[in-house]
Symmetry: C2
Amino acid sequence: MERALSGCSYPAVCERWGLFEITLHGPAEGNPFTEQSVSAVFTGAGQSVSVCGFYDGGGLYRIRFMPSAEGTHTFRITASFPVPEPEGSFYVAPASRSNHGPVRVKNTFHFAYEDGTAYYPVGTTCYVWALQSDDLIRQTLESLKVSGFNKIRFCIFPKHYLYNLHDPRSFPYEGTPMDCTLLTEDNFNDFNGAASGNNWDFTRFNPDYFRHIENCILRLQELGVEADLIIMHPYDRWGFSRMTQKQNDLYWHYLTARLSAFRNIWWSLANEYDLMPSMKTEDWERLAGILCNEDPYGHLRSIHNCVPFYDYTRPWITHCCIQRQDLYRTAEYTDEWRGQFGKPVVPDEIAYEGDIPCGWGNITGEEMVRRFWECAVRGGYPGHGETLPESGNILWWSHGGPLRGESWKRVRFLRRILSETPGTGLAPVRSEWDDVSAVPEEKDLAEKTGYRIYYYSFMRPSSREFRFEDNRARRVEIIDTWNMTVEDAGVHAGHFRIPLPSRPYMAIRMCFG
Amino acid sequence: MERALSGCSYPAVCERWGLFEITLHGPAEGNPFTEQSVSAVFTGAGQSVSVCGFYDGGGLYRIRFMPSAEGTHTFRITASFPVPEPEGSFYVAPASRSNHGPVRVKNTFHFAYEDGTAYYPVGTTCYVWALQSDDLIRQTLESLKVSGFNKIRFCIFPKHYLYNLHDPRSFPYEGTPMDCTLLTEDNFNDFNGAASGNNWDFTRFNPDYFRHIENCILRLQELGVEADLIIMHPYDRWGFSRMTQKQNDLYWHYLTARLSAFRNIWWSLANEYDLMPSMKTEDWERLAGILCNEDPYGHLRSIHNCVPFYDYTRPWITHCCIQRQDLYRTAEYTDEWRGQFGKPVVPDEIAYEGDIPCGWGNITGEEMVRRFWECAVRGGYPGHGETLPESGNILWWSHGGPLRGESWKRVRFLRRILSETPGTGLAPVRSEWDDVSAVPEEKDLAEKTGYRIYYYSFMRPSSREFRFEDNRARRVEIIDTWNMTVEDAGVHAGHFRIPLPSRPYMAIRMCFG
């Protein structure tokens, strides 16, 4: 049921945390992106929310809203052009079964959906999967469906980098790109930033481009996958990383107006922010301010480093999106970072399973899974990626497609183990010097359940000894994190020894039983 | 040909760096260890060396000397008892073919025999191999013979620890040990340090005990293996780690008098010095002084930590004997330690290949070999050990016996690769962020040969790219450090790419060709 005012249409009903959209007809002449404006105030359940609309091409303007409460809502539109009937109302129905709302920080270091449902982020990275062919996009979605990943990091802008030299399916601005036919894997860096031959109007967006991105976000939403959106990045030959600050502001305003009402988005201000010489800290802070002001739903916000960390104590940063700084120790710093920043730790780049020449993309599946467990048992949320080139140089890390590695299934298994944690999230506890172990983050649940998980990493003990003073019976399970098995090891109390199979990558889980 | 004075015998000829020994008859009554003294001054090749002798039981005293120059030498004995003909002479012949003298520090961070022959220490640890049965000692020597190890760390005193609860073949002092029949792997720590039931006379050594150790040192010498002697250690139920400082001094004087003249010894003041509560820094410094004063040959000296490092900048320390402080990064700190201490870095405990419950003894062969290469290509000298319990709980790490692991053969292969370095020793050089690489320590040789070695650790690049500005032809070899192969990869110049097999543990070596 769609209501239509004269030149203004919107649905009569929307579900909680659904995307409510008003479409208006308005001026198409001149430059509507810069010369027109449209916004609305939504009121319902005792709250008022002001949101900006955007021009979507062809004389159409849209205003989007994500209601976070049920019941009747009203709106009032304000625009730079006449809107015949600027007010209306609609009803917000209960969320459908698979809709738990946006993801929020919970228990300082963890996450949950707004309706309280547990959410353990198990993410992957496919930087420009959304800019590939329809066929490849379909394959990526199929891969995600079976993968167990519930978060995917990807870029809004196209990517120019090794294995990413072809033009994207379309461009975010009106204009024409530089010729890329002479680019090779050997000389691509010489073009980086030069951007000669590009001809863009940075004041005119290509609405098709963004509609396509939105469609991808919705496909992810259907799969229960969060879209961790990288707003800017340095891998660029088109000049999108070197726009003026005024042009950046226009882009960020446009993006927040278009995307904020999607419940399954996270904002990643940048990938490797420190590789963008035209951007200063004050610029990132100003752009973060746009997100804080214009995304009324407060979607999660972070920024990803190459080498130096951004100051994760900044109040607008909701979680620490971290690329490892050390070739050897990576996920093993998770507990230190928790202590340092007091926020969820999401080391979303801890190298990728693959065999390309670059050290960030050639670890084994075993090492990838080991890093996942090291991080998870320290109460953090690592990120996956695959750099195993198929014929045609299709790599999951950038293009999506089929998953070809060994780690993704084990990561899915880890997600299952995490989802069996009492309460929300694991808290690392010091145990022996040669294991990592964790209990539930909520202390009362930790004490009540006796839940504890121990991970032995690359070590291969033939047994481990436990000494508990309480002498309560504990059900013990042996987890083979690589072979993905959980084996009952009986009920024990006090001082006992659990035999293990002298293989790496084992864990032990126990709780009162 | 043995000359005999009345009550004094010695050989007429000794080879350079051989062990020249004078035997004297003297008083057996009272306590000759504390009540008598004997020493000699040796003169030859323009140098005089004063050495202490020792009481060897049965009314026999011995004075030992290691000549470092050829030609006629004379000596003059001084003793607390009458020596009828206290002077004599002997001839020092050239060293035999396999005798290169003691090992010295060379090129700041490396080692060589005194005759200049290259010595790349590739060491293993068998803490109390010398105190096992004759049969096990024979097995250990056979293992060493084929192993490629040219250094072995072991204790003078017996060891009380996990897997080490039985009594040694004999004891270093007169007296009787506590009863060990009630000790178990579970309660052994409760006995640690209590030492009740022991009955020792710490002023009376058991010469048989030390003669046996010396015999073991000679067997090692025949195999070209250096004896890295651990003088004290904390794993003790007999009280040898808790003697008074006066008792310690007596032991150290006795030991230096007996052992200094063996060319293939190194002094390790302690294993895990920081686990010995009765010892203070001033005690170690005093004991180091005994070594410096009474070992006239200046054998290599170091001290091994559990957690905090000893101050390796102390002038008496010739090389840094290091136990890793981090479960994850170990050998990877080698270059930092070189920079910090300006001495050879010998991380002789970087965990052992095995599967026992303890994290220091359950890494895989792959991880052991990886740590060796990480250290070696940073210009350091790591140590091996095996904790793979056989039936009867025989572990190479403590008892010796057969080598059962996967790493030792690869360590032997690494020794071969190191021995092919131009000059003496590797110097780490920064290359890419994701490899470690090294050139010869001697800059002129590095420039002349173009030798360079790159190691890729757990990463598995399918190729690596090189860009040299000099455009000189380089012969490239691909080294599989696990499968122990060296493959010719042709001659290349300037900018080139070397295909690799997408497996971990690969290295590339090149030189002008």
